[in-house]
């Protein structure tokens, strides 16, 4: 069986990561920005699993597992922050959330 070269997976991971990065920079809705960050984490995870597979080492998969836990905690706290900002400012638009600016 012919193995797919590792560069294919890494290229796919890069593409998804870059799309996520564009989303973070372009979109204005805080929830969508958080989604894009999740997408970038997923892309990085794909790279980890690729290295794990092609270097015959399970360490990469363990790291991805731990990243999943971090991502879950991050989403919970991030959405909590968005929720409490929405209570104060009635918006999720990051352009209007400038509480630290004076």
């Amino acid at each position: 069986m012919i193995m797919i070269p590792s560069s294919c997976y890494l290229a796919l991971s890069t593409i998804i990561f870059v799309i996520g990065g564009v989303g973070v920079l372009v979109r204005r809705n805080a929830i969508v920005i958080l989604m894009c960050i999740e997408m970038m984490m997923g892309a990085a995870g794909l790279a980890f699993v690729t290295f794990s597979r092609y270097l015959n080492s399970l360490d990469g998969q363990v790291v991805v597992f731990l990243v999943m836990a971090v991502a879950a905690a991050e989403v919970a706290v991030g959405l909590g922050i968005i929720l409490s900002i929405f209570r104060h400012k009635e918006t999720t638009d990051v352009d209007e959330i400038n509480l630290l600016k004076w």
Binding site: I2, L12, A73
Partner: protein
């Protein structure tokens, strides 16, 4: 066969990723995100990481996307004032992202994968099973990060509750 699956899943993942940032409503973004995570789980299966594929579907698709959908529906469709306006900052963002893509793509395709080969060959993993192999690693070499992740999740729960809790006025707080 493997190549066909890779191309199909990769194409779905990229299209879904584009969908997340192009979709007009946050709900559609969340559903595209679900599609993206599911195709990533398929790719994990191709890469011989069965446990992670299952965890990906359960944690990301099952928990995180549902959380996103909850909050999106709770807050409603906020007005996104400056969406898709041709701004110089957006243009700059796309240009910089393209530069990053070319840069990393060059690194990926120019070099070969170097590094010491580990001992976890597919045959060695197949002997004990993927889940058991990861479990053994997780509870020996990675025990400290594992415990820290558990504490982090606990802090995350507490933080989320504190942040999302309605602040009542102090008088009723005392009475309760």
């Amino acid at each position: 066969m493997e190549m066909v699956l890779f191309v199909v899943l990769g194409a779905i993942a990229i299209i879904a990723a584009l969908g997340v940032i192009i979709a007009r409503k946050a709900i559609y973004s969340a559903l595209f995100l679900l599609l993206n995570f599911c195709s990533l789980a398929g790719l994990y299966l191709l890469l011989n990481a069965q446990f992670l594929a299952a965890a990906q579907v359960i944690v990301y698709a099952g928990a995180i996307v549902v959380l996103f959908l909850f909050v999106t529906m709770l807050l409603g469709e906020g007005r996104e004032s400056s969406k898709f306006k041709v701004q110089s900052s957006n243009f700059l963002a796309v240009v910089l992202a393209f530069v990053l893509l070319v840069e990393v793509g060059y690194v990926v395709f120019s070099g070969t994968l170097t590094g010491t080969q580990g001992s976890d060959t597919p045959e060695a993993i197949a002997r004990v099973g993927n889940v058991q192999a990861i479990g053994q690693l997780l509870f020996t070499d990675y025990l400290l990060p594992f415990e820290l992740a558990a504490v982090l999740l606990l802090i995350g729960i507490v933080g989320a509750i504190v942040l999302a809790k309605k602040i009542r006025n102090p008088k009723s707080e005392i009475r309760n």
